[in-house]
């Protein structure tokens, strides 16, 4: 899609976010919802904020410059709404940054960078049986939702909203090296959580490194 920064009036097609806005809902609605849900954990509030985001985006569509993808732009609009909402509700700031997570990841290794508790011998596969698979998906989603702070937000945007790492950097306004640290923490945390809550760790073998 060619970004139209020039003087073309925003008459539907031709504006940065072209096409039927209802198609945006099909294309980006779930991604926006997952992000909102990860920050609020209340489904109906999350859905309402997604609606507000689309309405605001429709009104402001001519401001879309095409220097990020439509999804990233929509997510940035939603992020402002989330911040406002959380502030109004008088709760913790979105993206507050408790460094407890970092400590937890670092605790997996000793001072020489060797594993203290080695990853268990399990393959990351969903169970074959339907019922068990649903249970597994729930455990997986619970662990993903449980990643705290900015690391969790970064992981949600990267994996559940399927943004590129460059786009996540834009939304969160962080340097890419910082983003990689956040995502590494998030993945480590997710892995540990699944190992504890789902996969048995009955097998541990001899230390190699």
């Amino acid at each position: 899609m060619e970004a139209d920064v020039g003087g073309t009036p925003p008459t539907g097609a031709g504006a940065g976010l072209a096409g039927d806005p209802c198609l945006w809902v099909d294309e980006h609605g779930d991604a926006l919802f997952r992000y909102a849900l990860s920050q609020l954990s209340d489904r109906s509030t999350a859905e309402d904020l997604v609606q507000e985001t689309f309405v605001a985006a429709l009104e402001a569509r001519e401001r879309f410059r095409g220097d990020s993808t439509p999804r990233t732009w929509l997510i940035s609009v939603l992020r402002h709404k989330l911040v406002d909402h959380v502030r109004r509700a008088g709760r913790q700031q979105i993206a507050e940054n408790p460094e407890t997570l970092g400590a937890e990841v670092e605790a997996a290794f000793n001072a020489h960078g060797r594993w203290i508790e080695r990853p268990g011998r399990w393959a990351p596969e969903a169970p074959a049986a339907e019922l068990e698979r649903k249970e597994f998906q729930r455990a997986l989603q619970t662990c993903a939702q449980g990643i705290a702070g900015r690391a969790g937000e970064a992981f949600t945007l990267r994996v559940l909203c399927e943004l590129s790492s460059e786009e996540v950097c834009k939304v969160l306004e962080v340097q890419s090296t910082n983003l990689w640290v956040l995502l590494h923490r998030a993945r480590s945390k997710l892995r540990t959580c699944l190992e504890r809550t789902w996969f048995d760790r009955r097998t541990k073998d001899e230390p190699l490194c």
Binding site: P21, C22, W24, V25, D26, G29, D30, F33, R34, L37, R43, E47, V50, Q51, F54, V55, L58, E106, A108, F109, H112, G113, R114, W115, R118, P119, G120, R121, W122, A123, P124, E125, A126, Q137, L140, Q141, A144, R158, V159, L160, E162, S165, S176, L179, W180, L183, H184, R187, S188, L190, R191, L194, E195, D205, L208, C209
Partner: protein
Amino acid sequence: MLSCADATRRVSESLDHPLPLRTRIGLRLHLMMCSACWRFSKQIRGLERLLRGPRKGSEAADSTEEDPQRLSPSKREAIKRALRR
């Protein structure tokens, strides 16, 4: 040789940007010799795939089955109505 702490960090980074060739070779050597980091690598990749994966299919199929990670069909319609106004 690369420490396991560094190796896992690089495994994760390789999912977000292409590593320089030297780094990639060093990492591959480590993973060949270290079963713990090799598992870490397989597991975090697999879990991400599972988190992304099943939704793809259901989106295409647009099943009526309630997916907790998706907008409810009624809200989806409500949003579309609001946008048509």
